[in-house]
Symmetry: C2
Amino acid sequence: MSHTEQIRNLGLKVTGPRLKILKLFESRANEHLSAEDVYRITLDENMNVGVATVYRVLAQFEEAGILVRHHFDTGKAVYELDRGEHHDHIVCIDCGKVTEFCDSEIEKMQEHIAQKNGYEIVDHALYMYGVCQECQEEKHKKKQLY
Amino acid sequence: MSHTEQIRNLGLKVTGPRLKILKLFESRANEHLSAEDVYRITLDENMNVGVATVYRVLAQFEEAGILVRHHFDTGKAVYELDRGEHHDHIVCIDCGKVTEFCDSEIEKMQEHIAQKNGYEIVDHALYMYGVCQECQEEKHKKKQLY
DNA sequence: GTCTGTGCAAACGCTTTGCAGACGG
DNA sequence: CCGTCTGCAAAGCGTTTGCACAGAC
């Protein structure tokens, strides 16, 4: 399915900003982009999409299930392509690197706990915050300087 | 340990706002309060603590380990007393009710996944969003009206 | 008296909205 | 053309900060 079709299928008009943003996420399939990232990238590529439009399009794409939004503890929301399969995140508190993982065991246990508490779960988020390998080594090096 | 001692032990001066907020959280030990909640409650009780002070005290208490901060998807941060034991949350998307749970199996698996990916975890958060029993029943009733 | 803590209001960062003009269908 | 979409700037929201004064020790 082409980008144009994809957008039209959502009942949305096929416009420059929407095409641009959709392509952007597909070309960076494994990145987590904030609204500001998207805005800056389009700026750099001389395709001036206003901030407001970025937010509006991101919201529409999320609503439509094309993108997923995450709220890490960083204060700003980030988006990524929804590849169907749910997954969770480990965020490096030093360099911001994001590692994804998926564990069906944990998922199952979550569902079980929810049931036990009488909840019908519609969404869940597991975030871990830590220091990635590289940043640990970085810190190690700095210590040796003294 | 008295409240006064508790605050003094943090190296902080014992002031009205700090005492007030500490007592507030102890008297509502199982609630999750936002900065605004705290501000409103002190207002209602004719003890006018400025918003800025509320934020500053909450931050200090969190830093000191007296409170824990959570960022649900609601946009505002909430705090609760740190009772030592880590736990996770299920938030009802209809009524806002928060249910806490703790599962050591999940914790272990998380740690294992983090290790496998080379991370040294300093924090983690597992949030589930769903509809609680009462709200499910509520919805059921409404359906029957038609 | 000193130095920390406070309240106020103004600033902040991210996000949303109101509006007049642009553009897709 | 009509109705949606856009860019701009202004407003919104939760949170933080600068400052002069108040209060703890």
